[in-house]
Amino acid sequence: MNDNGNILLASGLHKSFGRGAGKVHVLRGLDLQVRRGEFLAVMGSSGCGKSTLLHVLGLMTAADEGSVAIDGREVTTLCESSRNEIRRRNIGFVFQRFNLIGVLSGYDNILLSLKVRGLADGRDVRGVLEAMGVWHVARRKPAQMSMGEQQRVAAARALAARPELLLADEPTGSLDSANAQALLELLVEQNRRQGQTIVMITHSESVAQAATRVVHMKDGRILDTHA
């Protein structure tokens, strides 16, 4: 597969919500390349479309226009079941709003996601929860956890599967600095040791510093690139 080292290649993305006078044009011809093994931080003001971008890259929603290639494979034209397979095989996603399954315990949330991916055996659920400092809430349901605990369980759910591409939407948004640091260390370690590619949205300059590259979003486009 010839991917020129890009695990993600998005070009000319457009996405808008609503219609008529209430129409919001969120992505306006956005281009983005993410190289394999990169840890990319995306920053930008609230409401500029960062989550929308991540949803499009993670195949959670379709762009109105433009193309997305993952591992060199054009995915925008794929049928739903193929997109589903890519989500299962290649992508780990941490939602800004966690999206844990409310009727399952923290532990079972992680186990279920591993089962869905066919990885239930041989993955250390406890280890991931301990690394995130949330082993003590493993038996609780999300409603009985603090926001920060939910966020860490949600991150653990995506990390446990060790996907080659991890998309995380403000994964430290509800965390104190110590816990944020612990999560970042885990991300950096997976990025370095296993070559996992990470795209992380954050509002925090200090969090962004953990990344190997930071991009800024404005007016529905990626502005600039720092090394």
Binding site: M60, T61, E80, N84, R87, I91, V103, L104, D108, V116
Partner: protein, 400 residues
């Protein structure tokens, strides 16, 4: 781990049980009402099985509605004729039980009131037990007394008071248990019917040909003297019914049929009723299905967010559908089982409340109910699940 469908059902215990209850009510309604409509009609036909006779003889000019035959279309001469019926030169008849039938209201509805001889009562009820009391006028006093008085009067006007009738056992009545319950009667109670005050002297096990019996002499006195509505004929051993009917054929004023033929005719007539009951059952089925559909649909619609989360992890279609389907089917099955279970006490309740009604719960309708619950349960689950799977993850997450 707890499987997701079970986790969901357990987490929303109240809602799950209410949904199952919704299914149960629909199923119970279907099983009970179908049993009621069929049972009450079938029971009428089945009572003819009790009769210990081979042939039924009634007037040739009887109306088509032989189920509601009453009055005195037959005479004493006809009775003699039938008693002496011979096949191949040998007497063919074991006994003839002549009856005079009135229609009268006892309890909640109109009943056939059979006037028969006391010794014929076991023949018409298939020997059913007395639960309390005894047969009416056991020594046939009333008949003797009436014959005596009629003889005395000659051509003159004959007046017989109720006291005279009652004094000779003429106003005694035997009823079956169902009618006793329906009309709240027990031995010793008075019943006003046919313009007279009868006294209940016995209550029998149900299942006999009629629910109310009085002395034949009284029935004739209140109707037409020396007349009969129909004859129940028991043939001697070894005499074929068809041969006896053949022998009866020259008597053009009489129609003879076998009891089985009569039951067949009755069933044909009641067949018209089945059109109504089947239609009613079909409507009940539709209502029950709608009930189940709504109950389960609202349950599964709340899974759309969860389906979106599963989709975000790339869960296979089979996995998602399987989960939602098993959740729905578990509830449908539990509800159906509860509904079928509930229909038995419901049937008992109906029969206790309206004792002349019969609820016959059949395996056929239990099957229909169970299959519809599962089929509708499956449909109700698949549609919202399929809808949630079709749209974007992000869009599905904002549903609810």
């Amino acid at each position: 781990m707890v499987p997701l469908p079970l986790a969901n059902l357990w987490h929303h215990k109240l809602r799950s049980s209410l949904t199952a209850l919704g299914v149960a009510i629909g199923i119970c309604m279907l099983v009970t009402l179908s049993g009621l409509s069929r049972g009450s009609v079938d029971e009428i036909a089945d009572r003819w099985e009790a009769v210990d006779a081979d042939l039924l003889v009634f007037p040739a000019n009887a109306s088509d509605n032989i189920a509601a035959l009453s009055g005195g279309g037959l005479g004493e001469k006809d009775a003699q004729l039938v008693r002496q019926l011979a096949v191949a030169g040998h007497p063919a008849v074991e006994y003839v039980a002549p009856v005079y039938i009135h229609r009268g209201k006892i309890g909640s509805g109109a009943n056939n009131i059979f006037g028969c001889a006391p010794q014929d009562l076991p023949r018409l009820t298939g020997g059913r037990r007395f639960l309390e009391g005894r047969v009416f006028d056991p020594d046939n006093n009333c008949e003797c007394y009436l014959q005596h008085r009629i003889g005395q009067a000659g051509q003159g006007v004959l007046e017989i008071s109720d006291e005279e009738l009652a004094g000779n056992g003429g106003l005694e009545m035997v009823i079956d248990r169902r009618l006793a319950r329906d009309a709240r009667l027990k031995t010793g109670d008075k019943v006003h019917v046919l313009g007279r005050d009868f006294t209940v002297v016995g209550v029998m096990q149900e299942g006999g040909l009629a629910r109310a019996f009085i002395p034949r002499a009284t029935a004739q006195w209140l109707g037409e003297l020396d007349r009969y509505t129909m004859f129940f004929v028991k043939l001697k051993d070894g005499v074929a019914s068809q041969a006896a009917l053949e022998a009866l054929r020259p008597r053009r004023n009489l129609t003879g049929i076998t009891i089985d033929q009569y039951r067949g005719m009755l069933m044909d007539m009641l067949g018209v009723m089945y059109i109504y009951t089947d239609t009613a059952n079909a409507i009940t089925l539709a209502v029950a299905c709608l009930f189940i559909l709504v109950s389960l649909y609202t349950m599964v619609i709340q899974r759309q967010r969860e389906i979106a989360i599963l989709k975000s992890m790339g869960a296979r279609r089979r996995f998602i559908l399987g989960g939602v389907l098993s959740e729905s089917l578990i509830i449908a099955a539990l509800g159906a089982a509860a509904g079928i279970g509930l229909s038995f006490p419901a049937a008992m309740g109906i029969e206790a409340f309206r004792p002349v009604l019969t609820v016959r719960i059949t395996w056929g309708w239990i099957g229909v109910a169970a299959v519809s619950a599962l089929a509708v349960g499956g449909l109700a689950a698949i549609y919202p699940a399929w809808k949630a799977m079709k749209i974007d993850v992000v869009e599905a997450l904002t549903l609810e």
